[in-house]
Subunit: 154 residues, 2 copies
DNA sequence: GAGTGAGATGTTATAGCATAACTCTTAAAA
DNA sequence: TTTTAAGAGTTATGCTATAACATCTCACTC
């Protein structure tokens, strides 16, 4: 990992600390470790991939260890679950409303891009309203080929 | 099950037969049985719920039996998978483009409504285009409270 | 300082979801 | 007739997630 990325991760961990403080939640060493692993990863990680890595620094780790940490991180808007992959990625912007986030999943390279498109969010809200449906959560995930992979494989 | 529903299911099985014929696919007895169970159900069914029911009429059924049938039915646009529930529901309209379907999942009563909202589909397509992303599939699922449950629990 | 309560983590076991890999049968194509 | 391909059977296993109960820690209070 290069210096720049290491610095970016450090900043995001500090931001996470602030967010948790504001929420009256504790970013414990365990939770911080799990978040750090997710931030360091190049792409989405499954719970068991996280577990394998976590075991190296915390030998008592078992599945509930990881799932509890993930639940906490998701509740505090530090991590997203990608439903189609059963995998987890960092949240890019702790300020946005998690209702209004969408994911672009590249089938070629596996990267998941997080976007926040208000036209989509608005269309979803309108459609729900039309049906008398009161949404509490939205899962919006597009599968396909990302720009980079389209360019290299035309 | 009342007569009306039985008739509706019969019609949908006949329609499924036509669709498969057009696709050069075979709606075998097994696949027809699985589709029928999904059509008869009041709500989404998991693969193992289907398996339990299927065993009553086909004692050799095991998980791959069900998953293969489901794969076939999804490919032929007769069934949808609801990602958040790991469960399966019938497709309401075999003509529409599966890219352009959305689900409204009621957290209270468990029903899943399938809608086809072109404003959402359009917004998704635009957002993808903006990113140079070429989508092949869209998963759009809203969790919340349906109109009926809102009315009864104000 | 002993007791209490809440939150975090440890621990064991199991439930729930999905597929790999190989076999057998059957029916149509060559 | 041999070959091939699709469907289904069979066995085993891998992956994903949670239940339930025990223990620890630390702040608070009596």
């Amino acid at each position: 990992m290069n210096t720049k990325k290491r610095q970016a991760i450090k900043e995001r961990l500090e931001e996470a600390e602030r967010v948790c403080d504001e929420n009256g939640a504790q970013l414990t060493e365990l939770r911080r470790s799990v978040l750090s692993l997710i931030l360091e990863a190049d792409g989405p990680l499954t719970a068991y991939q996280l577990l394998d890595q976590l075991k190296e620094i915390r030998k008592t780790a078992v599945p509930p260890t990881v799932y509890r940490a993930l639940d906490f991180l998701i509740e505090n808007r530090l991590v997203h679950k990608v439903e189609q992959l059963n995998a987890f990625i960092p949240c890019n912007d702790t300020h946005h409303d998690h209702h209004d986030v969408q994911f672009l999943i590249c089938d070629k390279c596996g990267t998941v891009a997080e976007i926040e498109d208000h036209a989509i969010a608005h269309a979803l809200a309108e459609a729900a309203k039309k049906q008398g449906f009161r949404p509490s959560k939205a899962v919006v995930e597009l599968d396909g080929i990302c720009a980079a992979c389209s360019a290299s494989n035309p």
